[in-house]
């Protein structure tokens, strides 16, 4: 093995050859200058993406609440178009908020959905200094509060109690397309102003009823020389008689003049009898004259002999009269009905209710229709709202005996 001292190694190191750089001076300069002259990034690379992200988040933070707020308002307006704008929007109060079944998540959603349709409830909870920035806004808020105070009660269209002293008085609608049986206290009926309720004058004001409940018959006496012009008005007279006497469950209604003769009713000819109202002859929708805040359940005659399931579908149909609209929202789908003696189960699916009023009106219209189809109780399945107002939706609900009570 070769022995080396430091000098030997120094000599060998000194003999290591010079290794040439193959890149030319010019090429090297070009590469160096291009790198030296590259503009230095003045801002951090994350700055612009970061700012853009923050801007997007800010925009979302502003628009998402507005979007959801608008969605809620649209729901209410949509509802109002279909039924009663003033009454529907008046439903939202803390007192009237329905109680929900806490065991189901769906009912929680339901709670949120109904609350969403309460446009002013949130405002009311806010302290004035946070909610009101100018005197104009303050006035608006006061107006809203006043309006809300007057809208604390839901508008029920049926009379569930057996309270006496009411008599049925039927009025034509404004264009006489439908007859609206109302319940009035006997002492109030003479002072009743149909105009105020969006109704026409009574068609049978000159007639006298003589009812024999034991025989199940009634005689309607017309003044001698009674004349009626127009088939619509004649129809209104006949329907008014039938609905005025409906509560007596009669078998026969006779018509006569004071002289005991048959009654001449225009294009209907001379009539001595009108048919009593038969089971399943009507469904119930909603009547409301334009500009009026009053609403009535309107019996709408249906052709043939529909089943109750068919009747529910017919209740959703529009176009049954100028001031008549369905009491059932479009989003409600009746999946099936099953009957157990006098109980009918109504299975349905639905989306968000615009308001508690909308829900109440729908339920009452269905109850009344079910009663007219011979059922005594209705069990709603799929409502997801357990109880609200006077109805416990978990249990079968008795159908009402009477509709459209008027309490002045």
């Amino acid at each position: 093995m070769k022995k080396r001292n430091d000098e030997d190694i120094k000599k060998v190191l000194g003999k290591l050859p010079s290794v040439e750089d193959r890149q030319s001076k010019e090429m090297l300069y070009q590469k160096v200058s291009s790198r030296v002259n590259t503009p230095k990034r003045k801002v951090a690379p994350w700055l612009f993406p970061g700012l853009a992200t923050i801007a997007v988040l800010l925009v979302l933070a502003v628009f998402i609440p507005v979007f959801f707020s608008n969605s809620g308002m649209l729901t209410v307006e949509d509802s109002a178009d279909r039924s009663n704008e003033s009454a529907e929007s008046s439903s939202a109060t803390e007192e009237a908020t329905p109680s929900f079944d806490s065991s189901t998540s769906e009912s929680e959603e339901e709670s949120a959905e109904i609350k969403k349709a309460e446009p002013s409830s949130e405002d009311k909870e806010l302290p004035p200094e946070e909610n009101i920035e100018s005197s104009e806004q303050e006035k608006e808020a006061k107006h809203e509060e006043t309006q809300k105070e007057s809208e604390t009660e839901l508008d029920s269209l049926v009379l569930m109690s057996e309270e006496g002293g009411f008599e049925t008085v039927s009025y034509p609608g404004k264009n006489a397309e439908v007859i609206l049986p109302t319940l009035q206290k006997q002492q109030d009926s003479n002072a009743f102003s149909p105009e105020r309720y969006g109704l026409a004058e009574r068609a049978v004001g000159e007639l006298e009823y003589e009812v024999d409940e034991t025989e199940g018959s009634a005689v309607v006496t017309f003044p001698d020389g009674f004349t009626a012009s127009g088939s619509a008005w004649v129809s209104a007279i006949i329907e008014s008689i039938r609905w005025d006497l409906e509560k007596f469950q009669l078998e026969k209604i006779s018509l006569q003049t004071e002289s005991g003769n048959p009654v001449g009713l225009g294009s209907y000819g001379e009539m001595s009898e009108v048919p009593v109202i038969q089971e399943g002859e009507y469904i119930f929708q909603l009547y409301q004259y334009e500009g009026s805040s009053e609403r009535f359940l309107a019996p709408i005659s249906v052709d043939g002999s529909p089943t109750f399931q068919d009747a529910l579908s017919l209740m959703k149909e529009k176009g049954r009269g100028l001031y008549v609209s369905p009491a059932i929202p479009e989003h409600v789908q009746f999946t099936s009905t099953t009957e157990e003696d006098a109980l009918v189960n109504v299975n349905l699916q639905h989306e968000a209710w615009a308001s508690e009023q909308q829900l109440l009106t729908m339920i009452e219209a269905i109850l009344v229709t079910a009663g007219h189809f011979g059922f005594e109780k209705v069990k709603f399945n799929g409502m997801n709202v357990r109880e609200f107002s006077t109805y416990d939706l978990e249990e079968p609900i008795e159908v009402p005996e009477r509709i459209n009570p008027i309490v002045e």
Binding site: M1, K2, R4, D6, I9, K10, V12, L13, G14, K15, L16, P17, S18, V19, E20, D21, R22, Q23, K25, L28, Y29, K31, V32, S33, R35, V36
Partner: protein, 180 residues
Amino acid sequence: MRTFFDELYENYHHDLFQFLIYMVKDRSLAEDLVQDVYVRVMKSYDSFSGKSSEKTWLFSIARHVAIDYFRKQKRKRNRFMEFFDWSERGEEIKDQNKMPEEIAVQNDEIQRVYQALDKCTVDQRSVLVFRFIQGMSIKETAEILSWSESKVKTTQHRAMKALKGILEDMEEGRGDREEA
């Protein structure tokens, strides 16, 4: 800038490239690193205080460029080691850097010394290159390395000793040698 570059290139480029090629033992890599050196020099020219000579300043930058390269390589190697059994397979991996032609035509002793430089530490290699390949004085080397002259002498002594041992091991065919 061009004038300054020309001046540096004419005066120091040859020595600068020699330093880098003997430090990294790879021609194309040395060519890339020499660019880095010039870029750093150009960018920091305004901050050159003149306390040291231009040559000292230039080679000091070159040494740091080389050290930065070795650090990057070490980090890459460490990441690679995490999922590679280096103890079993490492010896199979040979140095892929092609020996420069200028070295390849030299005798065996010169080629062995060239290869043995790889086994020295970066500090030892720096001192050997500056002192015996570049022919710099102890003082110049100390200035470039920002060391005391005594440290340069000590490192030089250890480098010579290590190099001798490496050469002996290479002749005996013992392969790698752990440096002191």
